[in-house]
């Protein structure tokens, strides 16, 4: 994909973003707006990466259809949308992270069922991995899938799961046996008895509507277990890891969008910067450009090989740090009471704090990056 092509795609996304900017504060106040109006404000079908068969009227750039089913296209478009409202991007209906698990694990019947439901009309999905006592160490999960006659029962609690209260379908990770290979991914229909998704009020990214999944003996058919035709090593954790590798560049582009939005706000709201402030702004502009290049490189790497998350971790560390730093310092640059006078800035500060945790904390990214570097996966001069 050429630089010119991506620049045109970005320009197109910038136009779409206008609608999201207008609703940003409303959605922050009332996350339920996501299901009542947001998907009408933007052409969600074109933006969420539906497969070609379900996306009959795709975005077009220079006459060419763009499905937004690659990481490179996603980070280009979603950064611009996040620059208007990252909460709205995450509140869009569609496959989000669960789609990646489907791509890796579903058989033909499951794939068809999933996409038929998701493309049917605005439909939300979720990805349920984290538990109250197990976030950074998903291997410790205690949600179980156990046999009961000729069906299975799903029991456990998941926490901090985005979009679940409004979802019809989602992927839940559960333990079938002990050990790292004992985790399976299950396609869960939220209307099943024993399933409940309770909203958790958050400080930022409120549009995403985090929630707690409470599952008590939820009946699961054998046909709902993903990866059943796959080998023992290609099961839940394998697919989850690949999903993280694909989705970390996307989370990074959202953080970058928030950072850019805070930069835009400072430069729009103030005139006559003092010399040390100019210096600071120049530094930010350079770091925004550097992070953007890194996010794009990470997206290319994820498209090429989703088994390798080294660059994705690097991008996430950089983008998250930049978003936190620019939003926080922007408050000081806009003078006393800036968070009262600029509610949008207050929202950016709150939203920026989410990215540290999504798809793994900064520490987890550091461990992944260090390991990847030591294994020669950064494609640096050592390999040249």
């Amino acid at each position: 994909m050429t630089t010119e092509f991506l620049a045109d795609l970005r320009a197109l996304a910038r136009d779409q973003a206008t609608a999201l900017r207008a609703t940003a504060l409303d959605l922050d106040r009332d996350p339920t707006l996501a299901t009542t109006g947001l998907h009408r404000a933007v052409p969600w079908r074109q933006l969420v990466g539906l497969p070609a068969a379900y996306n009959t009227d795709p975005l077009r750039v220079r006459g060419r259809p763009v499905l937004l089913d690659t990481c490179v296209e996603q980070v280009t478009v979603l950064e611009e949308l996040a620059r208007a409202d990252a909460g709205a991007v995450l509140a869009l209906p569609g496959p989000s992270m669960s789609g990646s698990v489907i791509a890796d694990l579903a058989d033909d019947e499951q794939r068809e069922r999933y996409w038929n439901t998701v493309a049917d009309g605005p439909t939300w999905t979720f990805f349920g991995m984290t538990e109250p006592a197990h976030g950074s160490d998903p291997g410790g999960m205690t949600t179980t899938l156990r046999p009961d006659g000729d069906r299975l029962l799903l029991t456990g609690t998941k926490r901090y799961v985005g979009n679940a209260p409004r979802a019809r379908l989602g992927v839940v990770f559960a333990r079938r046996h002990s050990g790292p290979l004992g985790v399976v991914a299950v396609l869960v229909d939220t209307s099943r008895p024993g399933f409940e998704a309770v909203p958790l009020p958050t400080l930022g990214l409120r549009g995403l509507q985090l929630s707690e999944l409470r599952m008590r003996d939820v009946p699961i058919e054998a046909a709902d277990v993903l990866g059943r035709h796959r080998s023992a090593t290609r099961q839940g954790m394998w697919a989850a890891t690949r999903t993280f590798h694909r989705y970390r560049p996307v989370v990074s582009c959202l953080a970058l969008g928030v950072a850019q939005a805070a930069y835009d706000l400072v430069t729009a709201e103030r005139r006559g910067f003092r010399s040390h402030e100019r210096h600071l702004l120049d530094g930010w502009a350079q770091r925004l450009a550097g992070t953007r290049a890194l996010v794009l490189a990470a997206a290319r790497s994820a498209d090429r090989d989703p088994a390798d998350g080294t660059l994705a971790s690097a991008a996430k560390i950089r983008a998250t740090g930049l978003a936190e730093e620019i939003t926080t310092t922007a408050v000081r640059m806009l003078g006393p009471g800036a968070r009262w006078e600029h509610p949008l800035l207050d929202k950016l500060v709150r939203d920026a704090r989410a990215f540290e945790f999504m798809e793994g904390t900064g520490n987890i990214q550091r461990l992944t990056l260090a390991q990847g570097y030591l294994q020669g996966r950064l494609g640096d001069a050592r390999a040249a």
Partner: protein, 242 residues
């Protein structure tokens, strides 16, 4: 704060100076309370109680404005004020609209904008800085307790080297802020550094908490209150300093 977190260990005394001798700022200003007391109230009881106590000591019945003309007070304290001080003298506070409500603990902080208020009282700004120090210490203690109770592959999360490193960074930030406040000689740039340093401590602690710190009813709500206090009541800039 988080009800599941064990109460933090007693703080290391009401801010003794690093030398053990009373620091210059420990001389109570005439007619006022030693500002270091507010640190302890913030540490043990949280932001609303500490603000109420500071208000009692420094600004009873009067809405205290920051340099941008905003106030931020616990709802009960706000309701008990009947006036504020404008440039040309005291004014009734009747009819001032509410800007925002910030839930924290079992109450709300209320923000308002005052028309043409007089410059803020330095005793208020200093008190706010001590409150923020106490809140940062409270937060760090709660983060350590939280991670002592979580585990990764059977070992306490608190014992992971990368986690210890973050904890150490936060502890250094607390120590720096306290050292600056202990030697406070009214230099506004020192007070600005206190606030910046405490903002960093807050962010580091939020990282330590994991997603639990991102919930509106978790420890993050006190971080938010503390940051909003800094934004509402920052120390004067060089240009405005007396």
């Amino acid at each position: 704060m988080t009800p599941t977190v064990a109460p933090p260990a007693a703080p290391s005394g009401p801010a003794p100076s690093p030398t053990g001798r009373p620091a210059p700022s420990s001389r109570p200003r005439a007619g006022s309370v030693d500002p270091r007391r507010h640190r302890l109230v913030a540490y043990t009881e949280g932001p609303a109680a500490a603000l109420a106590a500071l208000h009692d000591a420094v600004s009873p019945a009067v809405l205290p404005a920051g340099p941008g003309g905003h106030t931020l007070l616990p709802a009960e304290t706000d309701a008990a004020c009947d006036r504020y001080v404008a440039c040309d003298g005291p004014r009734s506070r009747a009819g001032l609209p509410e800007l925002a409500r910030v839930p924290v603990g079992d109450t709300d902080l209320v923000a308002r904008r005052l028309p043409r208020p007089a410059p803020p009282d330095p005793a208020w700004s200093t008190g706010v800085a001590w409150i923020r120090l106490g809140l940062a210490e409270r937060l760090l203690a709660a983060a350590a307790a939280h991670l002592r109770g979580r585990s990764v592959a059977g070992a306490p999360t608190l014992n992971l080297p990368l986690v210890r490193a973050m904890l150490a960074d936060a502890a250094a930030g607390v120590a720096e802020a306290r050292a600056l406040l202990d030697t406070d000689d009214g230099d506004p740039s020192a007070l600005r550094r206190v606030h910046e340093g405490l903002d960093e401590v807050g962010r580091r602690c939020l990282h330590l908490f994991g997603a639990a710190g991102f919930l509106a009813d978790g420890p993050g709500s006190e971080v938010r209150a503390s940051e909003l206090l800094a934004d509402t009541y920052p120390p004067p800039t060089d240009l405005e300093a007396p």
